[in-house]
């Protein structure tokens, strides 16, 4: 079977990686807002949230097929 997807709720390391992605996205939104105007930052934030939800949906579908491996720890 192909490599199992990582679950950010299973290990702290993966949750930390998700946090770093959110920090990066937040930095992009803050920078755009301060450099241009709040509407631009809000649009960028909405796009990034959409990307995150799309990625999470894809992972959920993969977990439904591949299942969760208790031995992954």
């Amino acid at each position: 079977m192909s490599e199992r997807p990582r679950n950010p709720f299973r290990s702290e390391g993966d949750a930390f990686r998700v946090l770093m992605m959110v920090v990066g996205a937040g930095a992009v939104v803050v920078a755009l807002t301060l450099l241009t105007r709040p509407l631009v930052g809000a649009i960028a934030g909405a796009v990034l949230v959409g990307v995150g939800l799309w990625r999470a949906w894809g992972l959920l579908q993969t977990w439904r097929r591949a299942g969760s491996d208790p031995g992954e720890r």
Binding site: F9, R10, E12, A15, L19, G26, V29, P38, S68, R73
Partner: protein, 212 residues
Amino acid sequence: MESASAAVGHAEGHASEHHHGPPEANQSSRIDRQTLGILLFIVSEVMLFGAFFASYFFLRVVANQGEPWPPDPFELPVAVAGMNTAILVSSSFTMHWALEAIRQNNHRGLKMGLVSTFLLGATFLFIQMNEYIHVGFSARDDAFGSIFYGLTGLHGAHVFVGLCLLAVATVRAFRGHFGPDAKDHLGVEVPGIYWHFVDVMWIIVFTTVYIL
């Protein structure tokens, strides 16, 4: 009567042969229960925050009808909140350090990481409370005041819960309860996942309330 007592004796005999106490709870073969527990908890908290954010965006976009936001005379200490953000993000680094340390059986690193995380989290909460004292408006002042204190207060409550979890984990770490195997440091791993979730929520709260 005799048949009833015989039945009880028969059942007790069976019980003593197999196990004591209630039967094992059903376990999913697809996800372990610790992960399922924290997953369900975080998902429910995300929904709670989602309701508050929905209220915030309704007030700002629909009810405010194009007026300036925050409305006059409200003013938010963005620089202080930015510094608080840096403190909380740093606490996630120290939490990650603590987990990496115990995975390598480094107990000193675990203890230092947990104590640092706790102190940084407490500092965040202290600065937040100080901000409430000096911000110049209360939750009763207009809808903006209500939603500001509602969102940031909800997050502050989560930070407090996280500090309680960290305190327990720190005490256990100093008592030598944890080991390098994954199953031997769940008491640090699960609070670590929760702490990162709290940090993620603050990034979103800070960006939405203070910046946008």
